[in-house]
Symmetry: C2
Subunit: 333 residues, 2 copies
């Protein structure tokens, strides 16, 4: 069984979001807690700005939840930078136990899974899960210096500048994380580092198919199937792969990467990055849960596990997707 069914499902009691300037011009703008006017955020480098973005997300979460720093049981965080330094330098400011995790853009659901284990067993309470990304720090690390002005190929996605954080609790008001499926690495041999969506789609389908098989649940049992950052092309591949296996997800699928920017944007493929699913989930979807417009969703964040070096050494892009099922449990026992 790749799927874990939590005996004591944790509650997502609070969430927070910090968005970059471009993200703040998108359709979801009014759901964000804090909107940056400048993606440098008063810092000297993009990397320091990213760390500050994650710091702010955690800081806002502490304010919203009114939980003091010394009551935080654990911070689980990760990001795309080498040695996940955004997380390190963000968390350094808090005197809290910390575990760093990394599965590229699927880090957010990995955090929710690991955090849920601690809560489920009552070993810890007040667990913060946070992930971030930054267009400019990612671009110069993974691709080219921005100053080069490279033309972006048609399949490329735009790394989201932003962070999302949420608080997991033993008790409280909010949707619960009831199940989680740990993904396997899937590699269909895609070598184009600009086509992350295509590389990640098979991993996404693999995890979702496993979840359906193991839980005997169906597409229609969920209000929404939310993917992390497949983008437009990746979403299409994902739907096709599901269709081939007899599942039609076209009716209730949305992709955070497709939602985060404006529909008339120039980034035709949509957003990506470890901050993409966390930013969108911790703002828009948490709001829908609060308003009872959502009752049960699947969230699958997908990760492309490449590095710029592995790409240069001719390797393909191994991908992974971790799934969590999130539900409003009112009326249920």
């Amino acid at each position: 069984m790749q799927t874990v069914i939590f005996k004591n499902p944790p509650v997502i009691t609070f969430s927070s979001s910090v968005a970059g300037p471009k993200e703040s011009e998108g359709e979801l703008s009014h759901f964000f807690d804090y909107k940056l006017k400048d993606d440098m955020y008063g810092e000297k480098t993009f990397e320091k700005a990213e760390a500050k973005i994650m710091y702010s997300a955690i800081d806002i979460l502490l304010s919203k939840s009114k939980i003091k720093e010394d009551k935080i049981g654990l911070i689980l965080a990760g990001d795309l930078l080498n040695q996940i330094i955004s997380s390190t330098f963000a968390v350094r400011n808090f005197n809290c136990p910390y575990l760093g995790i990394y599965n590229a853009c699927s880090t957010f659901t990995e955090a929710l899974l690991v955090g849920s284990l601690f809560i489920d067993r009552r070993y810890k309470d007040n667990i913060i899960c946070a992930t971030s990304s930054h267009f400019s720090s990612a671009e110069r690390q993974y691709r080219y210096p921005l100053e080069l002005g490279s033309v972006r190929p048609p399949l490329s996605q735009w790394t989201v500048t932003g962070a999302g954080a949420c608080m997991l609790n033993v008790k409280g008001e909010g949707p619960k994380i009831t199940m989680s499926t740990v993904g396997k690495i899937v590699d269909f041999g895609v070598k184009d580092a600009n086509n992350m969506g295509g590389a990640m789609a098979p991993a996404c389908a693999d995890t979702l198919l496993t979840f359906f098989k193991e839980t005997k649940l169906e597409v229609d049992d969920f209000d929404l199937i939310i993917t992390g950052d497949l983008g437009v092309f990746g979403t299409r591949v994902f739907k096709d792969l599901m269709w081939e296996k007899g599942y039609d997800v076209s009716g209730n699928h949305v992709d955070c990467g497709e939602l985060v920017f404006n529909i008339n944007e120039k980034e035709y493929q949509g957003g990506s990055g470890a901050g993409c699913s966390s930013l969108v989930f911790c703002s828009f979807f948490m709001e829908l849960f609060k308003k009872k417009k959502l009752n049960r969703v699947i969230l699958i964040a997908t990760g492309a596990l490449l590095s710029s070096l592995s790409a240069l050494q001719g390797e393909s892009i191994p991908s992974i997707a971790h799934l969590v099922c999130i539900e409003n449990m009112e009326g249920k026992k």
Copy 2:
């Protein structure tokens, strides 16, 4: 409480180790399962060699344990390379659920902790924890190209080439992981990327002091207090810091970094790297446990959470240390 006391402590049933040529000439040589004659290991790059080293460690573990790949509940792995690609490309060869984690050289104890949570709750069985490092891939990523022939400063440690892996089970023969303390980030402002031991020692002391305080246990309750890779200087700082707080650990402390190479080596400070504690623990210490020469130890792997970029941007080195308590439980209920 930073410390978790497991209700159903997992058993470390099997372990495996793969060591580089230099490590294989050290005092622990005959404890290693596989010894490399050439640190390229038949690959074209150091990074591919490191991935193969971790792959081999996992492969040997599967052979030793006679557990088939499809019965593996989870692989938890991490390493020092950007985007932990050694782990990704090692684990890609196995059709198993995977979670990537990263806390630099404290990744091994982080893996043991997270793996223990799954076992403790009986959500999964047959969990593999693996970490690796490689002198040559680390050197060129974190410091200088080897071809430059840079003189190594006196406080520098030698990154261990090797990997260790172990199997966690619900039942079986072997020592158990009974407790674990999640570390906090500690940063004393050390900026010298060649003095990792000095940077990590305060984090190590912080976690151990927290463990003693929370569990009411004492230094003498343990056969050994094993640190990951403080090296000679870091060990000295660590002992001093403990002494200041009223704990004399000098009688039963050992450091994996000090053990892994020969005493007459030129690397005066000893070894380091995410593979250091896993290689030494999964060979030498597991053997001592099997022979009942050890009954109860503390293992604290320490991590320096820098990247080459954070160092270049003038940041200090935030550090962290995660602790696990490992005991032979025979005779106890």
